[in-house]
Symmetry: C2
Subunit: 301 residues, 2 copies
């Protein structure tokens, strides 16, 4: 097992998946035509605006471990990215986090209007399930249903939506490390875990490998979120492509506000290393996933 895969190999691999998923998304998103063109334009505007494409990378790399065809894994990656993008569009709304900038561009409600932002998010979420239900995604309908069950559980009220609710309902709450961890596992962790697990579902992996990928991405997701909180505290708007320092200004509880920067940094590094250990039952073909665990805690945006 090669633990020291250089970032030189990871970055082109991430860029390759990002380019491929962008192409797939452009193919799957309807063209902006007809009297409803405004919402179609908004969907394309926000989904095809780049981004790290971390979740697609996880889907594709996990699926690669089981020799899944790239058409299958790219379609699932695109579906997961639709869900991620919808969540950003709704979270940015004035009634939620009220953000004007996302991925370096005006948010959808700023560029279009609030109604269009609500509808574009709704349509992206719906499209994700339409993509997964189609026979092109996997020839076995049982696999497609398993993917839909996994994605809906991860995105729903006991996952992403529930996490956002906790975040909205108690922004100034006296969060401790347990409650902030649960919040983040739901809000961002659930969809990240779902991404790696989806690769295992596509590959009809045994329970041990599916659980290993779930555990890996669980730790990876938390490490990612702590790094995000550190970047929000330290990064610049130019680096991040969105407003920074907002959490502190709002008095919001984050891993950094609870643990302090140093302990947060240590915790992220520890989680990244723990994530790697869950990959021990895979060989060298999991090296990119191993390298990713280091990357998420060392990234600058």
């Amino acid at each position: 097992m090669n633990d020291s895969l250089s970032p030189c190999s990871l970055k082109p691999a991430i860029a390759e998946v990002a380019a491929a998923v962008e192409k797939m998304l452009s193919h799957l998103l309807p063209q902006a035509e007809g009297p409803e063109h405004r919402v179609l334009e908004a969907m394309r505007y926000t989904t095809l605006a780049g981004g790290k494409r971390l979740r697609p990378f996880l889907v594709v790399q996990s699926a690669d471990l089981f020799g899944v065809s790239r058409i299958s894994s790219m379609r699932v990656a695109a579906a997961v990215e639709c869900v991620h993008t919808y969540s950003l569009v709704h979270d940015d709304l004035p009634c939620m986090d009220d953000d004007a900038l996302r991925r370096g561009n005006p948010t959808v409600h700023v560029k279009y209007d609030e109604a269009t932002a609500v509808l574009a998010g709704d349509a992206l979420l719906t499209l994700a399930f339409e993509i997964l239900a189609a026979a092109e995604t996997h020839p076995d309908p049982k696999v497609r249903c398993a993917l839909i069950a996994l994605l809906s559980r991860s995105a729903g009220v006991h996952g992403m939506v529930g996490g956002q609710m906790i975040d909205m309902a108690a922004p100034d709450a006296e969060h401790d490390i347990q409650s902030i961890t649960r919040l983040q596992q739901m809000k961002t962790g659930a969809l990240i875990s779902c991404s790696a697990e989806a690769g295992a579902v596509l590959g009809r992996a045994g329970a041990d490998k599916r659980l290993a990928l779930r555990a890996y991405s669980h730790d990876l997701g938390l490490a990612f979120q702590i790094a995000d909180d550190l970047l929000d505290a330290d990064g610049t708007q130019a680096e991040m492509g969105k407003a920074v320092g907002k959490d502190a200004a709002l008095g919001k509880a984050t891993f950094v506000s609870i643990l302090g920067k140093e302990r947060a940094r240590t915790q992220a590094t520890m989680l990244a290393s723990q994530a790697r250990q869950h990959l021990d039952l895979f060989g060298a073909e999991a090296d990119l996933l191993r390298a990713l665990s280091d990357f998420v805690v060392s990234r600058r945006n």
Copy 2:
């Protein structure tokens, strides 16, 4: 074929399905627990508030034509009703139609807040697909995938969401009868058609019967919408459980504003009769669906 089934048989049948789907929804909607309880409460508040349950009735009656088990059809009916309810919650938002009253109760953003209303809608839409993907809904995963494909197409950007976008983007547009028909077929017709067609999918019906149910519900949906416009023009708030006369006050194009009341009434009656004719290849077991076509144009709320 018995064309003259009395409304005395229809109303208890509608009430029976409404009660059964309410019970199923109460079972499928998670209990309001944990720090995310606010969104769970809002989901239950808005979904378990009664309503005509027209879509569940269509699912169940169509499925009955093919001897589908009531557990299957009730789960699908509940999923469709989750999608219908989510669309009402989002459409009522201040940035959309800005309605304070729905089914006689305060709308979700009035009772809770806007963020909770957005999230409750998102969670209901997601839950609908989780319900359909589960093995309890139908033993054959191919049928479950077909249901998910049908529902996502009907609810998405080329169906319900697209219709709402057209309605929002051009409330004062110079709609003619063609454009208002297309708008309404997308906005309300798509999910109504989906409901009857879902029964055929559950029953693995042949193409002729599936198409007949689609054609029936297509005409039924338009008749229903014209009746709705007439009620908005003539009904009282007490009868309707929501604000009335709003379309006219906003100068919005409706079937009534374009056709006038008398022609609109004639058109609705014609469509209802056309809907019945599509059921000719079914026997007496479709009598409730036949009676429904009369009911939707004669209803007072």
